[in-house]
Structure formats: C-alpha cells, structure tokens
Amino acid sequence: MIESFVVVVRAIIAFFTLLIFTRILGKQQISQLSFFDYITGITIGSIAATLTTDLTSRAWPHWVGLFLWTLLVFIFQWITLKGRNIAKYIDGEPAIVILKGKIMEDTLKKTRYRAADLLKLLRSKDVFEISEVEYAVLETSGELSILKKAESLPLTPKDIGLLTSYKGISRELIYDGKVMEQNLNYIGKDEKWLLNQIRSNGFGSFDEVFLVLIDESNKLFIDGYRDSRNEKEPKTLE
C-alpha cells in the first residue's frame, strides 16, 4: 500500500465534497458571516483536512461528519431564512454602539467589545472623531456600520444641485483577448465594428487587447497587454 496514493485519493474526495457542499450552502460572503458561521466553516474545513490525512481511521466516518455539519448548517440557514424571529434568536441582532456621538457603554459590554476595539473599527472606517458619528451599528458579523452626522458627510453632486450623466454598468466586450459575443450582440454591434474601434486606438488585433469595456453611455475603455504602448484615452462613440 502506498500511503501517499491513499492520501491523493482522499484529498480528491475531500476537495470535491467540500466544493459541492459549499455550493449547496450558497454564496454568503465572508463579511456577512456571523461568528458562529465562521466557526462552523473552520470546523467543516478541519474535518475535510482530517479526512485527507488521518489514515489511522477510515475516510467514511469523517465524510459522514462533514455531511452532517453541512446538513446542520443548511437546516439552520433554511430556518433563519423562513423565520425572522428565529434568525434574530440564532444570529443575534445588530447593536447600536454609538448614538448621536455618544458611546453606549452597556451595549458595548453586552457585545464584549472594548472601547479600543470600537475605536479601531471607527478608524478603519476613516472616522477619527466619535463626535462625527450619528449612529454606529455593530452588525452580527462583527462589522461596524456608520452613519456620520449630516455636517460631517462628504459633499455630493446632489447637495449642490449638480446634474450628473447616467453611468450604469460596464459590459465586457473583450476579456483576456477573447471577444465576448453575447455582450457584443446585446449592444447590437459586431466584431467588425469592435475591430475598427480597437484599430483606431492603435491595436492591430483582438489578441493585443486585454480588456475592452463599454458603459451605458457607450463610452469605451480599452486596455492593451503592452502597458508601454501609447494608448489613447477611452473613446466615446458617436
């Protein structure tokens, strides 16, 4: 028996099982995870690691453990999606830790946060004076959400009545040298048109272009592979 060969097979089993299970669990981002979700993730990963390398026990019991942890997380996810009150009970609730520039010490104690932790989180949000904060909410994920006082908010075009043009979302027309046919069809253009556009920007073929984006105001952004090339400014279509 070659031990390393057994490890290879077990690693493949653990890897693809984790991949399938995490896909089933959904697309929750790390920043949205509660502390419990985070610990659960670590536990599942740890079981997968043991499944791979612990040859003193069979792979099957580890796999069953992996499956059960995933199943329990899935059930909890389903329950918290269905019932708001249960979700609050399981995940906890966001807590207001600063209200109109004043720290809520009792809430801070309940959430086991020190003043230093709070100041650190504020600094990470570019807030260096607590008096600037109208509300600071400690989310269940441990992140701090801040609403600054009106006088401390940055000036926006809306504040001074400035009209802005609509930007929308950019679409990729070329990605890594490959033409995105679907997006090209969506905007009602063809490859010939695209080739003309990149040629007018100093490129010979699609292969020379790393990325081409078009926004909803039909403004093109073109980036070539060779950064030393004198690329023209992004061009606006007629």
Binding site: M1, E3, V9, I13, T17, I20, R58, A59, W60
Partner: protein, 121 residues
C-alpha cells in the same frame, strides 16, 4: 449547461466517493483464485494443528500473496492500522511456524481472523 447536468455531476461524484469509501467489506471478499486469505488461514490452522510445518509455511506464503492483492482493493476504505496489524500477525505467524510453536501460531491466526472480520466495516 443544462440544469439536469448541473445536478447530475455532483450527484454522480458524491455517489462515487461514497462507493469508494464504503465498499471495503465487499472488496475484501475473494474475487479470483488466489486472493482468498481466510481460506489460506483455515488451511494453515489445519496443518499447524497436525504439526505439518512445511505445508503450513507454504499456505502462509499463499496467504501473504493473497493479502497483498486484497490490500490494493481495500486501501481506500479500510483503516491503515487494521491493515498494518493484519500484516504483522502474518509476519508473527511466520516466526511461530519456524519455531514450530503451535500455540503461538494458532493465537496469531485467531487474531488475524478477528481483524479480518472487522476489516472495512
């Protein structure tokens, strides 16, 4: 990709993985002529009880060859400790046969049978 294929791929993969991990008890059963370990152990016991040490040694050699074949099939679904332990009992039996020690050899073979029963379960 079609939804049915998207679902079918992980289902087939998981089913395959489960099969690899749980078929030890099936795969340890003899599949050819010379991989019936438990048969060779029984033959060995008979010869040892009759103190036919030469025949017992021949059967032990066959048992070791059979064990090598079985290990290849069950290595992904059995505990490594159990595999090693059975290997050791066969080695120890070899020593007892050389020393013509009936009690020791029989004890080792009983142990081997016990490990075999639990193997891959």
């Amino acid at each position: 990709m079609k939804k049915s294929i998207r679902i079918l791929i992980p289902v087939i993969l998981l089913a395959f993985f489960i099969a690899v991990m749980t078929t030890g008890a099936i795969l340890k059963k003899p599949m050819g002529e010379k991989d019936d370990l438990i048969h060779y152990i029984e033959l060995m016991e008979e010869e040892i009880l009759n103190q036919n040490w030469k025949e017992a040694s021949d059967h032990l050699s066959d048992a070791k060859k059979a064990w090598k074949k079985v290990v290849r099939r069950i290595q992904f679904s059995a505990e490594r400790d159990e595999i090693n332990e059975l290997h050791k009992t066969l080695d120890r039996t070899s020593g007892f046969i050389k020393a013509k020690d009936k009690g020791g050899a029989m004890a080792e073979l009983a142990e081997a049978q016990n490990i075999w029963t639990e193997l891959g379960k």
